[in-house]
């Protein structure tokens, strides 16, 4: 039920966006991600974007893991 998938916002019309999931495009409501822009990646659950994906945070988190694992496995 809480399955949510990432997709890219390609068009915005009012409180609805067209989201591209690797080639498949579907409508999603963007009521809860007010500052979303075309080009942003969002997490969509049952037709609603519930959050934007913070790409910088993702890269930072992967880097942090890399450091932790390097220390651990040395």
């Amino acid at each position: 039920m809480c399955l949510a998938i990432p997709g890219k916002v390609v068009e915005i019309r009012g409180n609805t966006a067209i989201v591209d999931y690797n080639g498949i495009r579907k409508e999603a409501r963007i009521d809860f991600v007010k500052d979303v822009r075309v080009g942003d990646y969002v997490i969509v659950h049952t037709g609603f974007a519930i959050e934007k994906i913070d790409e910088d945070e993702a890269i930072k988190s992967l880097k942090a893991w890399d450091e932790v694992l390097r220390d651990e496995n040395e």
Partner: protein, 372 residues
């Protein structure tokens, strides 16, 4: 493109292998076996599909809690919805019932919504409450959305209720069986389910934030990690819990920082509590859980189908004889311990709700052929 690259990093065999090595090192330091619980069907899918249980050291186990909202939707509510459809038909009103694909097939002693359709009622499967709402704008029937789900799914419901209110749509109603996740975890702890760490569901947490779970750590001393849904996310959460235990740290950490914020999605929270109030609520096979349900506020009663039709419902058994869905939902047992599993109970002929939903632990075990 960047996001696809990021996702592939969270599915990387190399990173997963390195985290597993660290998990093994931490596990060697443990003075006793530990058990971690998650409360999310999608986490169970990641664990079972990735064979994560089989990769973990023997002293680290993962159990699934009540992470399937469709599984815990009370029999009485499903039966009441069926009675509402019959009553409406008798009084000459045509109802179009919409719900999700797994809810449609959930068995009760009085049949399922799928059986209602077979009897000639208008029952339609929707992917989203948004689709259900669109039907009500196009057609004149009374559209009733039977609405299960945890916080993640309640947010879209609240979003649509906002449209119903703003657009003054009178032929769209809901039957809310929405539930809140943290109170269920608290109820399990109080009832004696013990675990050494909790893996918090990433998308429930997207809505309620890290702060929505903090009280579980503060009140019960349980370490927690908010986790995403890729294999690396799950392994990272397991490693972080082990590290906290070995370091004597009792805290809550966020591994899914690319999506989950400390405060959660406050716009979604505001929408949910605008329309709903918290109440005690029944969970199928688990009983009444205090402050775990969401009912429409009095002001919005007119959107509740029960304000129009409210037939009495008999008391019915939650589960068929022999079904151990209740023990599975409490984290006491894995599906393979059930005598019915894979023999008389399969996704084609499900006996209990945990075998129907794609988020049900039994369904997931059957689908991926899990042996442990």
């Amino acid at each position: 493109m960047r996001t696809n690259d990021i996702l592939s990093a969270y599915r990387s065999r190399d990173i997963a292998r390195r985290i597993l090595q660290s998990i093994k090192k931490e596990a060697e330091k443990l003075s006793r076996p530990v058990k971690f619980m998650h409360v999310c069907g999608t986490h169970e899918d990641t664990v079972t599909r990735g064979g994560i249980r089989s990769l973990l050291p023997n002293n680290v186990s993962i159990v699934a809690g009540p992470g399937c909202p469709v599984c815990i939707t009370p029999v009485e509510d499903i039966v009441k919805m069926m009675e509402i459809m019959r009553l409406a038909k008798e009084s000459g009103e045509k109802i179009t019932l919409t719900t999700f694909g797994d809810m449609y097939r959930i068995p009760t002693p009085r049949g399922s919504f799928a059986d209602m359709r077979a009897q000639g009622h208008d029952v339609r499967i929707v992917y989203s409450i948004f689709d259900a709402y669109k039907i009500s704008l196009k057609e004149k029937n009374l559209v009733v959305h039977f609405s299960p789900g945890f916080e993640t799914t309640t947010a879209p419901t609240a979003g649509i209720l906002e449209s119903v209110e703003n657009d003054g749509v009178e032929n769209f109603k809901i039957y809310s069986v929405h539930r809140l996740t943290p109170p269920a975890v608290e109820a399990l702890i109080k009832a004696g389910t013990s675990f050494d760490g909790l893996i918090d569901p990433g998308h429930v947490s997207t809505i309620i934030g890290v702060r929505g779970w903090e009280y579980i750590t503060r009140k019960y001393g349980v370490p927690q990690v908010v986790a995403g849904f890729e294999p690396v996310d799950m392994l990272a959460a397991i490693y972080t819990l082990l590290k906290m235990i070995n370091d004597g740290e009792v805290d809550i950490k966020n591994e899914y920082t690319r999506v989950v914020k400390y405060q959660g999605n406050t716009a979604a929270q505001e929408a949910i509590y605008k329309f709903f109030r918290v109440s005690d609520a029944k969970w199928r096979a688990l009983g009444i859980i205090p402050n775990s349900g969401l009912e429409l506020r009095e002001k919005y009663n007119w959107i509740d189908i029960r304000s129009r039709y409210n037939p009495p419902t008999p008391s019915l058994p939650d589960l068929e004889k022999g079904c151990i869905c209740g023990a599975v939902l409490r984290g006491y047992a894995l599906p393979t311990e059930c005598k019915l599993f894979g023999k008389v109970c399969t996704p084609e002929t499900p006996v209990g709700p945990c075998m129907v939903s794609y988020e049900g632990t039994c369904h997931i075990f059957y689908k991926y052929g899990a042996l442990i």
